[in-house]
Symmetry: C2
Subunit: 281 residues, 2 copies
């Protein structure tokens, strides 16, 4: 791993993750893409990148369990969260018009999310590895009768024109990203804390643990259970709640939780991200 950059992500240049990083950190940010999420975590751990940027949940697909599985085992902490609204775009070589296009390449999920648009223009969807790679393919193979569904950032990188913007059928497609790092973060005006914990699968065990948050007036914003692999009757819970790790009620709640749970792991305490569009009225 020779790469060295500021923010590491999974994917190639022009991936939605990279577009999200630029929106979050600004256009001057130095990014590097890795093939897998594991490599992103390794890059930050090995000081090859300052931060890792991984999806935590998506409004369509739900929780990205792979990211949580990595957090369970890594020493990195969540130092921030960022909500990113994904818009799909139809990209083609400059000068090509929509009437000349017959095939559209993209990741199966992106193609599925633009079904109505594709039908309207009688375009044939063809599956590819990912959205950014589809844009690269159009340029590399000089495809004059094909288009790609990808980010605007991918159009910029591969010098393609954006034929149509926001072609998705779905009215909401927001990804919540975790910004992963090594340090601790100061208290923000509104902080959120993420933890993992495990309980024995006996009636009331989870409730017994959750009680501590109510006792100290801490509002839960996410809860999810997951059976532990190879350990029957053990569950892992992902929990987010409002509050900073050094707030006395948070400290007290965690101390009480430690007495009741099988184990507790604090994933991070970080500034609350701006509410996504799809959650606003």
């Amino acid at each position: 791993m020779a790469k060295s950059c500021y923010v590491a992500y999974q994917g190639e240049k022009g991936a939605y993750s990279e577009e999200a990083i630029i929106q979050c950190f600004g256009s001057e940010v130095d990014t590097c893409g890795f093939e897998t999420s594991e490599e992103v975590v390794e890059a930050v751990q090995a000081n090859k990148a300052e931060f890792g940027f991984l999806p935590a949940e998506n409004s369509i697909a739900g929780t990205i369990t792979q990211t949580y599985d990595l957090l369970l085992e890594s020493k990195l902490t969540i130092v921030g969260e960022y909500y990113f609204r994904i818009h799909h775009n139809l990209l083609a070589l400059p000068g090509v018009s929509i009437t000349e296009i017959t095939n559209v390449y993209s990741h199966p999920h992106a193609l599925a999310q633009c079904q109505q648009f594709l039908k309207k223009y009688s375009l044939k969807p063809l599956p590819e590895w990912d959205t950014a790679g589809s844009a690269r393919k159009i340029r590399q193979e000089n495809l004059l009768t094909s288009a790609a569904i990808a980010s605007k950032r991918a159009a910029q990188i591969h010098n393609l024109q954006v034929l149509f913007e926001s072609i998705e059928d779905v009215s909401h497609n927001t990804t919540r990203f975790f910004i992963l790092g090594k340090g601790e973060v100061a208290r923000a005006e509104k902080s959120k804390t993420s933890i993992l914990f495990s309980v024995r699968d006996t009636p009331g065990a989870l409730l017994h643990c959750l009680e501590v948050f109510a006792t100290y007036g801490l509002n839960l914003t996410k809860i999810e259970s997951r059976p532990e692999r190879n350990r029957p009757w053990h569950y892992i819970f992902y929990l987010d709640f409002e509050g900073y790790i050094e707030d006395p009620p948070v400290e007290q709640a965690l101390v009480q939780l430690l007495k009741r749970a099988l184990f507790v792991k604090v994933l991070g305490s970080y500034p609350e991200g701006a509410l996504p569009e799809w959650q606003k009225t």
Copy 2:
């Protein structure tokens, strides 16, 4: 929708879902595949199929939120659950040997889960819509130097040979399916009940709801929160617990829950499925 069958699923013949149905209902079962999960639900609602068979969660990908979203809005109930262990296989035309193969087609997820195997034999992974369609492609286009990663059922349907079995890198890949129907199910030796409910996002609101299950000694086996679309500060919870809907403690708990939650929807009360392999010691 002219099709009429016993069990409807999403995908085409040879999809892992169809393989799971056969394992669950027996080889004589009459199945029909639909393009989308919505169509599966519609087929059952319109009496075009007796049951729908949709994935609820997967040990790698987590909860299939799309299925829950459909359950939230449909009138179908969960009449059963089934755990299915997914094994990937390398399929090729009869007579072709592994040394002749250069390309391997499949869904990107399946290809990603067999990375080590593909590297070992220097096979080039190529993305396709789905696993069963990749098998069909090998046969239809008579590809003599390509293989597909798909189910054994797909090999049987498209008259392909299984060159290698269980080629996945991951040691666990289990999908929990919901069997959806219109009727109610009798009490089983061990029954499980699935519900959805919504609470206002105030400190302690969720806990206040969960208390009722502890009060009546009901063991929770799954809990998951999801922000409601377009309704800030409202969350929907998916909850599974042990017990049958007509058991007095279950009835009592639900009555109490109705007083505390914004709404409650019973998704079904059904026999508990056999524990998946990856949860056994």
